[in-house]
């Protein structure tokens, strides 16, 4: 039996990874930066997050303030979660051909079913 060559294994892993990285970068470049967006039905609150949930944008219209701070906080929270799921969905579709499904799941990038209330119906022709 041939001896195990750790250098070869390492080189192969590194090469596969860099190829995957290049392909992922190309796919993201085509689709544009991935962000998750969600807004309240009356469009008075808009939330934008990066994949993973980091808040990158928040707009609150004056009229949203009249419901009181507790309601406002709840809505922002809810919208942030929805935006995070949408960002995850986009990342899933962008990276699925490049990265293992198990890894995407670890990252929280999961597809949103079409009939899910969080589904971003207007941006996909799925």
């Amino acid at each position: 039996m041939a001896d195990f060559d750790i250098d070869l294994a390492t080189a192969r892993v590194a090469e596969e990874a860099s190829r995957a990285g290049a392909e992922a970068a190309a796919r993201i470049a085509r689709s544009g930066p991935v962000a998750g967006k969600a807004s309240s039905p009356d469009s008075t609150i808009e939330v934008q997050v990066a994949p993973g949930g980091l808040l990158t944008g928040l707009t609150i219209h004056r009229s949203a303030l009249r419901h009181g701070s507790a309601v406002l906080a709840d809505r922002i929270f809810e919208l942030a979660q929805r935006a995070t799921r949408r960002a995850g969905d986009k990342m899933y579709h962008a990276l699925a051909p490049v990265v293992d499904a198990a890894q995407l799941q670890t990252l929280g990038y999961e597809p949103i079913p079409d009939d899910d209330p969080d589904a971003d119906t207007y941006s996909y022709g799925r």
């Binding site: 750790i6 390492t10 892993v13 990874a17 995957a20 991935v34 962000a35 490049v98 670890t106 990252l107």
Partner: protein, 371 residues
């Protein structure tokens, strides 16, 4: 980037590589040894045939007491040669078996190594893909998730490699032991323990001490606690089970005939004094001696020391224990008899309530030797 991959791969494969080195052998050398053996056997065989032919010739050509003596000598020589041939065949078979065991061990180790490389590769790809996330501040958390998951997977796989490696080495030891005349090896053999038995017992402060007559002695082999990966024991199915009557008059159901016999055998030893290293039923037993001989008489061979009796299937929780199950610590073992009780060789062998603590020892788990 390449340095990261390098570090991950080297670190992740450390264990499998160590086992690979441990299992390393030269198949050609083993093959050569076997062939040489066959050649030797053939040549010795020829010698025997030759001697036999000579004897026949001698008998047919002459007579008298000198001839008789010569014939007898020749016959005993032929017998010795035959014995030699038999032994030689045994060695040859053992060499072949050892080669096969090593080979299987290597294949299993290689499989685990491949799996680890696959996991690392998948994680590295994901890490590269994470670099595309905007803004860069959210990349840290994602990378951490990936690496933590990878770590979990590698440690699980490494555990598997350790189990395979240990199995291989145990099998090799078995083959070696059989070849050496079938004696039990290691420090737990009764020969060596007879010598230390009395002095050990007299200085044995904690036997029958604080925890209510429990806590038997050290059943052998200290060192690191090893917990094997075993299937989980299934609960008893309807219509199965063998009844046992306990000393208190209660009737309990063992999962099968072997377990029931083992429990009955263990209960028949109540009151037998504790002797370190003892395997003499009715005379003197240690904790693992009690469980081993009880299962042995029921037709199931268990390893000799307590910490090794982690065999069959693992029982996940204390409420799923059935009669015949073993409660195993790093240096003690007891047999569940049902109704929340177990039998153990303290001094003497007695029944006690099931517990998971034992003076100064770590609890390994519950096991059902009959699977």
């Amino acid at each position: 980037m390449t340095e990261h991959a390098d570090q991950l791969v080297r670190h992740g494969l450390d264990t499998t590589n160590r086992f690979a080195r441990k299992l390393r052998h030269d198949p050609a050398a083993i093959g050569g040894a076997r062939d040489a053996h066959v050649a030797l056997q053939t040549s010795v065989g020829t010698t025997r045939d030759h001697a036999s032919a000579q004897r026949v010739q001698l008998v047919s050509a002459s007579s008298g007491s000198t001839t008789d003596r010569a014939t007898a000598t020749s016959q005993s020589l032929e017998k010795e040669v035959q014995d030699l041939l038999d032994e030689s065949a045994e060695i040859e078979q053992a060499v072949a078996e050892a080669a096969e065991t090593l080979h299987v061990g290597e294949i299993k180790n290689d499989q685990v190594r491949d799996q680890i490389i696959k996991e690392i590769s998948a994680s590295m790809k994901a890490l590269e893909a994470v670099k595309t996330i905007q803004p860069p501040e959210s990349r840290g958390a994602a990378s951490r998730d990936i690496l933590m998951k990878l770590q979990t997977k590698i440690s699980r796989l490494t555990g598997q490699a350790a189990t395979f490696s240990e199995q291989t080495i145990n099998q090799l030891t078995d083959i070696g032991t059989r070849l050496g005349g079938g004696e039990q090896s290691t420090s737990a053999s009764s020969a060596s323990s007879t010598k230390v038995g009395s002095s050990f017992n007299s200085s044995n402060g904690y036997s029958g001490g604080s925890d209510g007559g429990g806590g038997g002695g050290g059943g052998g082999g200290g060192g690191a606690v090893h917990k094997p990966r075993l299937p989980v024991a299934i609960p008893p199915q309807p219509g199965s089970g063998v009844a046992i009557n306990l000393p208190g008059g209660k009737q309990v159901m063992a999962p099968n005939e072997t377990a029931a016999k083992a429990v009955r055998n263990a209960l028949s030893q109540l009151g037998v004094p504790y002797v370190w290293g003892g395997t003499a039923r009715g005379v003197g037993l240690d904790c693992s001696g009690l469980t081993m001989t009880s299962y042995q008489d029921a037709g199931l061979q268990l390893p000799r020391t307590a910490a090794q009796q982690t065999v069959g299937a693992e029982v996940p929780s204390i409420d799923q224990l059935l009669p015949g199950d073993l409660v195993v610590w790093s240096g003690h073992v007891a047999m569940v008899i049902g109704d929340g009780q177990m039998v153990e060789a303290g001094d003497p062998v007695h029944v006690s309530t099931i517990r998971t603590t034992n003076a100064g020892q770590s609890f390994i788990g519950f096991y059902r030797p009959t699977g």
